[in-house]
Symmetry: C2
DNA sequence: TCCATTATCTCATTATATAAGATATATATA
DNA sequence: TATATATATCTTATATAATGAGATAATGGA
């Protein structure tokens, strides 16, 4: 197996995940119950998180998210402000098409979701920020690959092998290269159940003024909804969104 | 000794602290060198931080701040949006008075700095966000105490005992209570070298429309600059800032 | 006031993080 | 292009540091 990860750290971020708008403060017992930890352990983690500033205690034993997280969040946005700027654009597309929309940046292992706008439909595909998509079996993955030099592509595909291994699908190298040609030529990528059955996606790139691909956008949802008319509509709406983002991005 | 904190977590946040605008991505060796860690350890931490979404790797072995931090930061701001709103107000005061300015919320152990605006002076007192001030020997601490019920005050002073212990200064309970009366009556607090020698501060409260004290503001700097004329000027400028914040805060 | 609940602390046990070293990969230099 | 050097990644025995049972203190109702 690969190097084991640090369990304490993972636990800590599981604790942080427990916080939300409805639960802005937590105590040791609550955390222990929700995560099945020993009370002592939960308590120690809360104290440590407070020590580093990720949490802050107001009442005795009750902790809320702390100033360090605000700082780190601001810095994260500063070093990569795209997602923040992009969100309202995605919201508009999502409202208009009544399907979920997301934006991905390029991660070593595949497109990394940095912003999502979920549709209001009762049944919808849930994708969380931070999700990494496979390179070969997703519209956005192929889109990124299509716009790389062959060398870069080979390197990313090698790194992405871990994810690729999860899929049982085999890919014929030659026809795959041909597919990428078409994606590059047409300026958009389509996925009709390649990654997950019954899930489809239409994806377009976002270009910087320097001509680099800085983001990919996609509309995704139940395969049954993606007839050719809808695909066409989604594609042109996404392209509009893409230009909007490009123009805002100086 | 008190319960030991979780060292892994502390290390992880030390790693996160290494990131800034000038160093938006780091590798294992860099981290190892800067923190004196073993390369393997640094590497494992980076991988784990990536696993939880706090970091994201673009190039092989190079990590930048990740989307999870943006999310947590947004949530932290959502559960406590004051600091974000307050910053520009502090900046204005700081520019005008040419001294550093900060805002604190109430933490169990003392006023907790949530926002700072540092003066441009070559020599200035540095206070970082997340710093906890002592209750008894700081202007803001006394200000918070002054506006509590005696019961609440006793409870906070007990919890803050750890910090208090750091100071060698002894406080006469009776005259201290009298001081607080004056602070409450006059609507501001003054510190002329009580906490650290040569460091002075003027502090005023910020009130919510419901009449609760939600924040304390203070101008602080080298004692020598804090003559009575300056104190008066700082006080009235801070009061104006306080009303501004109150009015924006619905 | 007492009682139940929760927060905090202590410490022996052992699971888990650690770091030396091996290997793979990238980058620099000739 | 080949070789060298630096860096990233993996493996694994060992020691350290996290763990959780249990004791104690503090809290907040009845």
């Amino acid at each position: 197996m690969s190097t084991p990860l640090n369990g304490s750290l993972i636990k800590a971020f599981e604790i942080l995940r427990l916080f939300d708008e409805d639960q802005p403060e937590l105590s040791a017992v609550t955390v222990a119950r929700k995560l099945g930890l020993n009370t002592s352990t939960a308590h120690r983690f809360l104290l440590t998180l407070e020590h580093v500033g990720a949490l802050t205690s107001l009442r005795r034993g009750h902790f809320g998210l702390g100033p360090r997280l605000e700082e780190l969040g601001r810095l994260a946005e500063l070093t990569n402000p795209l997602p923040v700027m992009v969100k309202p654009v995605l919201d508009a597309v999502s409202r208009e098409l009544n399907e979920s929309v997301m934006a991905c940046r390029l991660n070593r292992l595949g497109p990394l979701c940095v912003s999502v706008s979920e549709s209001e439909r009762p049944i919808s595909v849930v994708v969380k920020t931070g999700t990494v998509l496979p390179f070969q079996h997703s519209a956005q993955g192929r889109l990124w690959l299509a716009h790389m030099t062959p060398e870069t592509r080979a390197s990313y595909l090698q790194d992405g092998a871990v994810l690729r291994a999860h899929s049982s699908k085999k890919v014929d190298p030659e026809s795959f290269a041909h597919d990428l040609e078409i994606v590059r030529g047409s300026g958009f990528a389509l996925n009709l159940g390649d990654n997950e059955p019954d899930i489809a996606a239409v994806s377009v790139p976002v270009w910087s003024t320097e001509g680099d691909m800085i983001l990919s956008l996609s509309v995704f949802g139940m395969l049954s909804r993606f007839d050719s008319a809808f695909v066409e509509r989604a594609k042109s709406r996404l392209l509009a969104a893409s230009s909007e983002i490009s123009s805002k991005w100086k």
